[in-house]
């Protein structure tokens, strides 16, 4: 049973990865947003934001990693909607395939794509002045992978329920922009009015950004790192469970 699940997950993973592996431009387009911020917004931060006068890149780059993860993974569901409509998912539903494999294979493909984009982002950031050890970068990428799995699962789940691009796109932009702004990706939340600061602390992504920033300055074992890691893992478990449940219910 488990062997079947792993084998089928691998088949679905390879199938989902083929189209984007064949067109590397898609990979670049996905990471272009955060890269533009790094190049055109990053230099403005020099000597401004960071308390204690540290390297502003250590503060800014983790936020861009979050932006990449959030926007990259949240649109994952868009690849499912045409397959729901055309008959691909129907064909897979009639096949003796585990519903979990149908979800997990896709999610792992998205995480793989995000990891490649994350490496590209960190390499560019390093060229611009970001400084972190290889283990720190690996840890940061692992954390974003876990969060990416959560967001991509949630995206597929919403796509399964909503089924139409024209409803899915506005829902995403309604959710993503506040989530991103409230996580303090662009400017520190320290100076925010207290209501905004409270909202920001309620946003789980804030804790993941805080963890990424702690990792970027070498505080691996800090409270912020642990909190962020726990938040990401809990989100991933919840989102994958929700996704599997929806997948078996919607797909029968």
């Amino acid at each position: 049973m488990t062997v079947r699940l792993l084998q089928q997950t691998r088949l679905v993973f390879v199938r989902s990865s083929r189209p984007w592996l064949r067109s590397p431009m898609a990979l670049l387009v996905g990471v272009a947003g955060p890269l533009v911020y790094l190049l055109l917004f990053g230099p403005l931060l020099k000597g401004t934001v960071v308390r204690g006068g540290g390297n502003p890149w250590q503060w800014f780059v983790p936020g861009m990693l979050m932006q990449l993860t959030l926007f990259g993974a949240a649109y994952a569901g868009f690849s499912l909607i045409p397959e729901l409509r055309s008959g691909v998912m129907e064909r897979l539903r009639v096949a003796p395939v585990s519903r979990a494999a149908l979800l997990l294979g896709r999610v792992i493909s998205d995480v793989f794509q995000l990891a490649l984009q994350g490496v590209l982002l960190l390499a560019t950031a390093t060229a611009l002045g970001f400084r972190a050890s290889v283990p720190a970068m690996a840890l940061a990428l692992t954390l974003t992978a876990v969060l990416g799995a959560a967001i991509s699962s949630a995206s597929y789940t919403l796509a399964l329920k909503i089924k139409e691009e024209y409803k899915f796109a506005p829902l995403l932009s309604m959710l993503l922009v506040p989530l991103m702004l409230l996580s303090g990706v662009l400017l520190p939340m320290d100076a925010a009015p207290s209501w905004l600061h409270t909202l920001s602390r309620l946003n789980p992504l804030t804790h993941v950004v805080d963890a990424l920033r702690a990792i970027a300055v070498g505080h691996y074992g800090s409270h912020a790192t642990l909190t962020g890691a726990v938040v990401a893992v809990v989100l991933a478990v919840l989102a994958v469970a929700w996704g599997m449940r929806t997948m078996s219910r919607e797909l029968g």
Binding site: L11, R15, E83, E90
Partner: protein, 323 residues
Amino acid sequence: MIKVRGLTKTFRGRGNTVQAVNGVDLDVAEGEIVGFLGPNGAGKTTTLRMLSTLLRPTSGEAMVAGCDLLDDPAGVRLRIGYVGQGNGAGADQRVGEELITQARLYGMTRAAARQRVDELLTRYELQGMAGRTVRTLSGGQRRRLDIVMGVLHRPPLVFLDEPSAALDPQSRSNLWQHISSLRDEHGSTIFLTTHYLDEVDALCERILVIDGGRIITEGTPDGLKGEISGDLVTLEPADPAAAAASAEQLPGAREVTVDGATVSFRVSHGDTAAPELMRTLEAAGNPVRAVQIKRPTLDDVFLTLTGRSLRDADANPEPGQGE
């Protein structure tokens, strides 16, 4: 191969329930090609989706390909092939890779999958297409690819949902040949839904007609045409009124109408009834100048059975039918 008793499906929406399938009984023997006909909203697609494990029945019993549909849907899935209304291959995928993935999902080894895919691409006139992206195929090629996906794992029973919809005439008759050979050469049992009567005439040995969520009749296409509608006989006799009176006397004659110089009526065996009537009229000094015998179409059968033509039903699909 299929045995269904009292199958029902009720959809519950907000505040209203729709009884889409209302006690269907049906049997399909091994090696048959059976057509499942009905206007949109008749319960045709819902029944097919239940039999292929896509929808769970509300009640009833069904054995499909030797497995119990309710207790062992996984067993049914292994033994059936399903070709839906849409295209089953991902538009961004390559033909060969998509097929091999499908075969591997059914548990074939990589080597067996490769061999089977090569064999089927050739048989379904898709040789040389393995490296092509699915979206670049023509409509007919994509439809053949769908069938290849449905039969990769050699299922003894194949469901086809509107196989030739949206294809041009040439691609349709080509597709029909492939479907026939699936049975003739490979012994598969085929259960297909359609609302194209030419498709039924070209493929099906037996048809089941569903309307209002129930099977309302079944039989061979020719049998149903004969029994239900009968042949339309049109005569031009010297004395139409007298000829009409004689036609009324023929056993089984109905719908006798006089329209100017012509008399028409329906009868089960027009080919033997018409000459007999002509002899009678001739003997009575009422010679017949012209005669025409028209075999009924399945559309006539439909009209007689349901009061609706399949084409009307097609033009005005009823809402509320679960896709």
